[in-house]
């Protein structure tokens, strides 16, 4: 059903931290068009779900795209077991609108946990556009912090923050002090919803335009189902076709958190069933 050279073969895999991986996959059509800020939908098997993953890198000559994931649910755990040479069922993209990359002056890039990987693509693009880039990387604990060296090499300044203070600053309170001493023209935040909300709340009084990348639930990711709807500035928007980037000062984060958890019980059930060896209910054996 797919074109002969579209095998979606995994070319390289890399463990970034425990349970956090970066895959480079063959997808020449997507590699040719991908831009920072966009995402792909992947399906790992015939019975698999469609999950959105933000593009972390692309190589137009090799015809590959990269994405990072955290092994939390069944699909990502199963994905984590695949190795170089294995093929995915389908990769569709690039989806969503590309980021607005131009010379703003001084840009602050804030990344949290696994979203640090796609953030660095933004950092790279912002640098190439002539910006001075200050990067903040955040993680729960020191062990979970990824891609620090890469970020250091790319950014003009780098700050580290962890939830427990095991490395760098504890929490993001220091950001307020930083903004009081330094002026930024734009802020880009990618990470857990709570982190993006905190960043947006801190930058608001300083009037720094803050762009957040939303990763709500998606099914088709082409504007058809509406499960990714979010409220931005009081208006209903679809993250997949209107986003995934939005003005962080306008997003209803509280609603977003609730909507991200809609299928949590089912996701947990599926993950547990998979870990104990698959569903044994015997329905619809096919």
């Amino acid at each position: 059903m797919r074109r002969r050279n579209e095998t979606y073969k995994i070319i390289t895999t890399k463990e970034l931290a425990p349970k956090e991986k970066l895959f480079e996959v063959e997808a020449p059509d997507i590699a040719a068009k991908a831009k920072p800020g966009q995402f792909v939908i992947i399906i790992i098997g015939k019975k698999g779900e469609r999950i959105p993953l933000t593009i972390c890198d692309y190589n137009r000559t090799k015809g590959t795209v990269s994405f990072a994931f955290h092994e939390v649910g069944k699909t990502t755990k199963e994905l984590g077991l695949l190795s170089e040479g294995d093929c995915l069922e389908n990769v569709t993209g690039p989806l969503g609108n590309p980021s607005e990359i131009k010379n703003y002056g001084k840009v602050l890039c804030v990344g949290g946990s696994i979203m640090i990987a796609p953030l660095l693509l933004q950092v790279k693009a912002m640098k190439e556009a002539g910006n001075s880039v200050t990067t903040i990387l955040g993680a729960r604990i020191d062990d979970a912090l990824i891609m620090e060296d890469k970020a250091k090499a790319m950014s003009d300044k780098l700050y580290i923050a962890t939830d427990d203070g095991s490395k760098g600053y504890q929490g993001l309170d220091f950001l307020k002090e930083l903004l009081e001493t330094e002026k930024f023209d734009r802020c880009v935040a990618m990470g857990p919803v709570v982190m993006m909300k905190t960043v947006s709340d801190i930058t608001k009084p300083f009037n720094i335009p803050t762009i957040v990348t939303l990763t709500p639930l998606m099914v088709d990711a082409m504007g058809m189902c509406g499960v990714c709807r979010v409220t931005v500035g009081g208006k209903m928007q679809f993250s997949c076709v209107d986003g995934p980037e939005f003005d962080g000062h306008q997003v209803d984060f509280e609603e977003l958190v609730k909507r991200q958890r809609l299928f949590l019980p089912e996701e947990r059930l599926n993950s547990v069933l998979w870990e104990i060896g698959g569903c044994k209910c015997g329905r619809n054996e096919a």
Binding site: R3, M222, R229, V230
Partner: protein, 471 residues
């Protein structure tokens, strides 16, 4: 024309041969097809009712001009292979059309027999032949000489598949781009298994691939490639059949609470992603005990009937009365047999959730019918002071879809109706861009499978003419 001797006229059977169906109590527990199809005897008996009119009105009622009396004549002589070939000369998706076409408004409404009794059940006969063929291998028409022209079809739904089949048969090189990971469009993501088994859709697509069309899934035109890029890279003509995929919401408060689905989300999860088999398939769905479906079209019926199969008690809330229900009568009857409760002349005002963000209560308002609006249907008018509430676990909003805007946004020079987002075409399906044609829901807004197929056919004719005249 040779005169036949007037013999004693055989008695015309006024009543249609009934379609065997799964019993309501049984079928509401499974997702298997409800209508089981005629047996050979039943099909032959129904075929014998056709009067073989010299000027058949039924053909005029068919958007793709299937030579109906001819295929029925073949059936009567038990020449089934010839019969299906007659249908396929005009219709590449007979197993689909035999199941989901609203024949009662098209071919059958024109049937002369309808004046004295039941019209011939053309759809069921078409289905019989298509199913017969599936059990007996396809015949692939002989390949014609390649024209050397390349056509891209955007969307593997009813419009695109029809255009692809017609153009492939004419010798053009056809590439179908489908954005989802499976072909079929609304036939796979929208219409449920119990009305149209997905294996049948797959089979019809196989036939179109065997005609020579090349299918590319997971390839979203407007993102992966754009139409201008295709035209630059050796494609001579494009047909856009991208459908009406964008769901409409009500615009009332609380609409983003958990447990509130668009009809699209609900049906995509169940049909395309097979959530009704979760955790066998990975995509979940959650359906509570009390489901309310808002809307009154075929999509609303599909949502309601799927919900009952998932064990829910379902209430349909429609703002007009029973007479205005846009769904097919047959679907309404099927749904009510399965236990659907309809609440007419009422509309939602707001949704109220619990502390976890799940919908709990729905505030509604009663309506009365005023004078007809632009659609010709009587306009619902709210009755003051008639508010009431309903306890709900799950709400499905099935009030219509509009075209997906991505192709329109990424194709410079493509003229679009600014209000409705539909692509503008001339009577041959041609858009404002030379070599680019469109048809189906992306042009008309949400309509029927067969009208989309008709549009695919019209455009295919025009594309063929365009390609053959192009230097």
């Amino acid at each position: 024309m040779a005169e036949t001797k007037p013999k004693a006229k055989p008695k015309i059977k006024k009543e249609v041969v009934k379609m065997p169906k799964q019993k309501p109590k049984e079928r509401v527990k499974n997702f298997n097809e409800v209508a089981l199809g005629y047996t050979e005897e039943q099909a032959l008996e129904e075929a014998s009712r056709c009067l073989q009119c010299v000027k058949p009105q039924c053909v005029a009622g068919c958007p793709v001009e299937v030579p109906i009396p001819e295929f029925i004549e073949c059936m009567r002589e038990k020449k089934y292979a010839e019969g299906i070939a007659v249908i396929k000369s005009k219709n590449a998706l007979p197993a689909v059309c035999g199941r989901v076409c609203p024949q009662e408004e098209q071919c059958q409404v024109k049937c002369v027999l309808g004046k004295i009794g039941d019209p011939v059940s053309i759809g069921r006969l078409e289905r019989y032949l298509a199913d017969w063929e599936r059990d007996h291998d396809f015949q692939i028409p002989e390949k014609v000489k390649p024209t050397g022209k390349k056509v891209a079809i955007v969307g593997a739904g009813p419009a695109g598949l029809t255009a692809a089949a017609d153009l492939a048969k004419l010798g053009h090189e056809v590439v179908i781009f489908e954005a989802l990971h499976l072909p079929g469009g609304v036939l796979v993501y929208g219409i449920p298994e119990f009305r149209l088994p997905k294996a049948i859709v797959r089979n019809e697509v196989n036939y179109i691939e065997k005609l020579g069309a090349n299918l590319r899934v997971g390839n979203m035109i407007g993102r992966t490639h754009t139409i201008p890029e295709l035209m630059k890279n050796g494609i001579d003509a494009v047909f856009i059949g991208s459908g009406a995929g964008l769901p409409q919401f009500l615009g009332v408060s609380g609409e983003n609470l958990g447990g509130i689905y668009s009809a699209n989300e609900y049906l995509i999860r169940i049909n395309l992603m097979k959530a009704f088999t979760f955790p066998e398939y990975d995509t979940p769905i959650r359906v509570g005990k009390h489901v309310v479906v808002i809307g009154g079209g075929n999509v609303a019926m599909d949502c309601a009937r799927s919900s009952m199969r998932l064990g829910a008690e379902v209430c349909l809330l429609y703002r007009r009365s029973r007479d205005e229900l846009p769904a097919r009568k047959e679907e309404i009857e099927n749904a009510e047999e399965e236990g659907l409760v309809c609440r007419f002349l009422a509309a939602p005002l707001r949704f109220i959730g619990d502390e976890k963000g799940w919908v709990k209560t729905m505030g509604c308002q009663c309506m009365e019918l005023g004078p007809p609006d632009e659609s010709g249907r009587r306009r619902p008018i709210p009755i003051k002071g008639s508010e009431f509430t309903m306890e709900v676990d799950t709400v499905i909003i099935a009030i219509g879809q509009t075209p997906n805007p991505i192709i329109q946004r990424t194709t410079e020079g493509l003229e679009v109706n600014p209000k409705r987002g539909t692509i503008l075409i001339d009577e041959n399906g041609k858009t404002s861009i030379d070599g680019v044609y469109a048809g189906g829901d992306v042009v008309t807004g949400a309509a029927t499978v067969i009208s989309a197929m008709g549009a695919g056919k019209t455009a295919a004719k025009a594309i063929h003419k365009y390609l053959m005249n192009k230097k």
